[in-house]
Symmetry: C2
Subunit: 293 residues, 2 copies
DNA sequence: GTTCCGCATGAATCGATAG
DNA sequence: ACTATCGATTCATGCGGAA
């Protein structure tokens, strides 16, 4: 079975309306942070951030399956020497919208850019807020087990390498060629701290997050052929990883440059792109804007 | 010079009133978490937590020096499958009180042993919220430097000569120039993630944090002979560490068992305890009564 | 073909300097 | 005065050229 990777060009607030209710298994996204990336996204002011995001989260609540999960990667910036509170206000307002704030994972950045200031050290962590529609949701915990001994550090990078090898082996053992590394090693469950490097591969574009980040949450909250959505696609990391992991995915991006770039990458990687979606959504206004290549 | 460690038995909301304005350099504390440890502290309900804490934080704001710092170790518990929002509400309300929310450090627990529930992994991090009265505050960053990574040594070993030359010739890249700055450097600044083991070596107290935690913040925000306050003393870790580090300290504890236990420990460690503190609370204005040798 | 090694770079922030 | 740009900080990764 081929998986699809549907990518749309346009404002997610509009395009999300075309997505049916209760159709997404996992939403994983990293929206533009307040007042950052001004040159590309126009920069939402921190005091307007909650108001800007709530209509979008309302649509996300609608399209998510009842047992699906929404993972939001975000971090408040420092303004005039203080941490902004818009993320906290957002959590409180999203709960009023009907979301359950189930958990807060931490991404502990292994190699954050060095720095030191008079009042502050390098910020080397970000929030990964987990929201759900119901107390019962799908969680495949066995998929993210780590070798004992590594559990404290959650060496996800290493885990993903072996998983790739395992996929190639396909001999039913589940471990493939690299089995020697794992003999006698007990697998245990990880914690709610994800310890990953920021992964600065050039490629003309900086991925906002490393592939290991969406990979971990896709493993944890979806199975093969499930549907993953990233309404702020950016450089397409979530969709590319989803495709590698045999999940279907939907990505929405407002900037043509990023949209074009992801199209090319997805082509290079010989991924399947759905052809049917122009006709599916034809009746809605301006369908050509988010038409897929 | 001998440092004092004044420990008080009673409710900190009352006892804090005896402490003069602008007299404390660092407040480091871990208050009872909402609805936890019900058997010992009576358990503040989550929906009343903010209301309960605000009068205390108001006193803390008063007693802290203008260039002092308040570090609050806290983590919201899970209630009915959701993370509570009382910590976020508390931050928002404390800002209205006049506090600046300067930073959020993360304590990444190195050795929280693996655990797993149907919808959740082991929680292995806690918040360390930094609050200040002013944008300018004392911060002794050099005191918490960490050893430089190994990569620098191998780099310098191979490149130091050529890079020194290049730097002098001023035709190298910015990178080469910077390398000369690293020569002879051993220690670098840390980040805002504190990676420590939980180390519950003692005691009968259920919420003890490792000594390394107050130690790091005492180093960072105070100098010798400064005054450290823990209004929820518990097993006295903050005060014991402060004394070891030649800081004066004040501790307040509501439960006689803990108060007695800390008294004994502090005696064992040959610390100085004010003898008169239980008897002299009649006169609120008389600040000399808790002034120490 | 494999290993080694130099090197550019990344959701950053503050304070100083320049316009 | 008010905004804009620049320099300093110093870790892990992956790439590409060299050995």
């Amino acid at each position: 079975m081929n998986n699809y990777a549907n990518i749309f060009l346009g404002d997610c607030k509009q395009i999300l309306k075309k997505i049916p209710d209760n159709s997404i298994d996992l939403i994983f996204t990293s929206p533009p942070y307040a007042d950052q990336r001004k040159s590309t996204y126009g920069g939402i002011a921190p005091n307007k951030y909650v108001k800007w995001f709530l209509p979008i989260s309302k649509e996300l609540l609608r399209v998510l399956k009842p047992d699906g999960t929404f993972v939001l990667n975000i971090k408040e910036k420092v303004i005039d020497g203080e941490r902004s509170t818009y993320v906290m206000e957002l959590i409180i307002e999203m709960r009023k919208q009907g979301w359950l704030w189930t958990e807060e994972f931490i991404w502990h950045k292994k190699n954050s850019y060095p720095g030191k200031w008079s009042n502050r050290f390098r910020d080397s962590w970000e929030r990964l807020l987990q929201f759900n529609k119901n107390k019962k949701f799908n969680m495949y915990q066995d998929a993210v087990k780590v070798p004992i001994g590594d559990w404290a550090k959650s060496r996800l990078k290493n885990l993903s390498e072996t998983d790739k090898i395992r996929d190639n082996a396909k001999n039913g053992s589940g471990f493939g060629k690299n089995i020697s590394n794992w003999i006698g090693r007990e697998m245990v469950y990880p914690t709610n701290v994800v310890y990953l490097a920021t992964e600065c591969n050039n490629k003309n574009h900086s991925a906002a997050f490393p592939e290991g980040l969406p990979e971990w949450f896709i493993k944890l909250f979806t199975q093969e052929n499930d549907v993953v959505l990233d309404p702020f696609m950016g450089s397409g990391t979530t969709n590319i990883v989803a495709q590698k992991m045999k999940r279907n995915s939907i990505g929405i991006e407002i900037l043509p440059e990023y949209y074009e770039m992801v199209s090319k990458i997805i082509n290079q990687e010989k991924l399947t792109i759905a052809k049917y979606q122009n006709t599916d959504y034809e009746n809605i206004e301006d369908s050509s804007r988010y038409a897929i290549r």
